[in-house]
Each structure stands twice: as structure tokens, then as C-alpha cells.
């Protein structure tokens, strides 16, 4: 064995043994004496191979089933519950607004106008539920994409994810958007933009006016 190539350790994994066998095969195919640089290069290659093998084992040993079967479904359930609770609260507020509108009709005059103005402001504010619901929907979609990607990577480097699926676990769902036809409307459906990222109503009005 040339200098710089370590012998296989007694505790080498099958993967490491396979890499070493490959390195030995390369060495065996070389004719003549190796230069010190070539030997060092081969030693580096072998070390790199062992590092990759260890990384693959570590990825394969990740508890991906915890992620795909517990963590992400739990997170998405919690987010769904948030949407449900805010919808319920918003409906309660809207019930109160409708009652106030009834009161305004009965009292009349300036008090009625004041009540109507306040109720209108509450209606405007309640549209938060739509915006937050859409934002949470974007987070859920992102979580599902992460779930699918983690399962793909782990399945590529080990049998853990495959074993979980074989034991009856549901494979991660495909992204929702993939199930619907790709129309222009769907392609351009980005959801709410972060503050400052979208155009304002004034910008939109100007843009529309430019078309006329």
C-alpha cells in the first residue's frame, strides 16, 4: 500500500469498506511508482469518500418520519386552528356590528351617523381575517414543500423514509397547486405581499388610468 493510504479500520461500515475497495482498485490499476503528490491526492479522495459516506448515514438516520408524520402535520393543524378561531371571532364581531346597525336605525339622527361610521371602520378592519388567512395558507404550502423535500433527500440517501412509507405511513402530499390546472390566474396567484412589496391603491389607479 502506498504511503498515505490508511488501512481499513476494524469498525468500518459496509459503505466505507466499499469506498476503500474502490480506492484500492484504483491503486491496483496504477502502473509504476506513485509520486508523493498522487499518493496525497488519493488519501484526500479516500478521506472525502469517508466524509460523504458518514454524511449519507447521518441523513439516512434522521427521524424523517417524525418530521413528516408528526411535526409538520401538527404545525399545519395548529395553523388551521388559528384560521378557524380568527374566523369565529370575526363572525362574532360582525354579529355585533349588525346589531349596532339595527340600533342606529332606531336611534336616528347624528348618533346613528356616528354609529354607522364606527361600524364601517370595524368592517374595514375585519378584512384582516382574509389577509391573515391567506398568509397562513402560504406558510402551510411552504411547510408541505419542506416536508416533501426532506422526504426526497432522506429517501435518496437511505431507506428510512422508504421504510416509513412501507410500514403504512402516508407519503407526503404533493403541493396543492399541483393538483389544479395551471392557468394564468393560478400562476399569478401569489397571495398577499409583505408590507411595502406590493403596489398601493394609488399606484393601481394610476396604472389603470394609463391603459385608458
Amino acid at each position: 500500500m502506498p504511503d498515505g493510504i490508511a488501512p481499513v479500520s476494524a469498525g468500518a461500515t459496509p459503505e466505507e469498506a466499499r469506498i476503500e475497495a474502490a480506492v484500492r482498485a484504483v491503486l491496483g490499476s496504477l502502473s509504476g511508482d506513485m509520486t508523493a503528490m498522487e499518493a496525497a491526492l488519493l488519501a484526500e479522495l479516500e478521506g472525502l469518500g469517508r466524509t460523504v459516506a458518514r454524511a449519507k448515514q447521518e441523513i439516512a438516520s434522521l427521524r424523517v418520519d417524525d418530521i413528516t408524520l408528526s411535526h409538520i402535520p401538527s404545525a399545519t393543524d395548529e395553523l388551521d386552528a388559528i384560521v378557524g378561531h380568527t374566523a369565529q371571532a370575526t363572525n362574532e364581531i360582525l354579529d355585533c356590528c349588525e346589531t349596532l346597525e339595527g340600533v342606529a336605525t332606531r336611534v336616528g339622527g347624528t348618533e346613528a351617523d356616528a354609529l354607522a361610521a364606527v361600524v364601517t371602520r370595524i368592517y374595514e378592519a375585519c378584512s384582516f381575517q382574509d389577509i391573515t388567512g391567506q398568509r397562513i395558507g402560504k406558510v402551510v404550502t411552504a411547510l408541505k414543500a419542506i416536508e416533501a423535500r426532506v422526504a426526497q433527500v432522506t429517501a435518496r440517501f437511505g431507506a428510512v423514509a422508504g421504510a416509513a412509507i412501507a410500514q403504512g405511513a402516508e407519503p407526503p402530499p404533493a403541493a396543492d397547486a399541483a393538483a389544479e390546472p395551471e392557468t394564468e390566474g393560478r400562476r399569478l396567484a401569489h397571495g398577499p405581499q409583505l408590507p411595502g412589496a406590493g403596489v398601493s391603491q394609488a399606484d393601481i389607479d394610476k396604472l389603470l388610468a394609463d391603459f385608458d
Binding site: 370575526t90 360582525l94 375585519c126 382574509d130 389544479e180 390566474g185 406590493g198 398601493s200 393601481i204
Partner: protein, 128 residues
């Protein structure tokens, strides 16, 4: 030109609370003849079965989006001249341009206020 408060209005949104908010704001503007749909497919069926003078639609709905509904409406010989206002959280320039190219009558970005809604309805009804 004053708004015709007898106009039948179809509001389309997949959020029930949003439908309720828009319905109540329309009621404040004295529009009493209001129907609802929760996506473009349901809205198109209602439009083909009914006679609406104004559509107020969200964009991001499934299975049919508001933009796809707008295209269907503009391609339908009977429905094509119906005033169509998009009320949506989609606030990218490309969305506004796509909606305009598809024939939207006006475009309101969420969150919006009652005055903006009144102003846009008045404007599109004046051109109807």
C-alpha cells in the same frame, strides 16, 4: 350619474367573512340585491343562470380563480359587458396588468376601505 341601487350584484370570495363584510358594505350603499359565490366556477354558473349588473370578485380561489372567471365572462357573448371589479390581496403590478388585459373594470387591493369600494362601484356603473 347616480348608482342604480336595484342592480343585482354578485360577490365572489372563498372567505365567508369577506363575503359578509362586502355584503354589509354594499347594504350601507343601499344595494340590497346581492348574491354570493365562493369560487369562479360557482360564480360563472350563477351568472349564466341569472342577470347580474355587477360582479365583485376575489382573485385567489380554487378551483377557478377570479382572473379565469373574468376571462370566461369576457368570452361569453351574453355576459361580456358585465362590470367586473376585482378585490384582491394580489398587489403585484403583473396582476393588475393581467387583470386589465383580461378586461377588468376596476381593481381594488385588500385591505380596502368603504370609500374606495363606493368610488370604484360608482365609476364602473357610470361606464356600464
Amino acid at each position: 350619474m347616480p348608482m342604480d341601487k336595484n342592480t343585482s350584484v354578485l360577490i365572489v370570495d372563498d372567505y365567508k367573512t369577506m363575503l359578509r363584510i362586502i355584503r354589509n358594505l354594499l347594504k350601507q350603499l343601499d344595494f340590497e340585491n346581492v348574491e354570493e359565490a365562493t369560487d369562479g366556477t360557482e360564480a360563472l354558473a350563477k351568472m349564466r343562470a341569472g342577470n347580474f349588473g355587477l360582479v365583485i370578485s376575489d382573485w385567489n380561489m380554487a378551483p377557478m380563480t377570479g382572473l379565469d372567471l373574468l376571462k370566461e365572462v369576457r368570452a361569453d357573448a351574453r355576459l361580456k359587458s358585465t362590470p367586473f371589479i376585482m378585490i384582491t390581496a394580489e398587489s403585484k403590478t403583473e396582476n393588475v396588468v393581467a387583470a386589465k388585459q383580461a378586461g377588468v373594470s376596476n381593481y381594488i387591493v385588500k385591505p380596502f376601505n368603504a370609500e374606495t369600494l363606493r368610488e370604484k362601484i360608482e365609476k364602473v356603473m357610470a361606464h356600464a
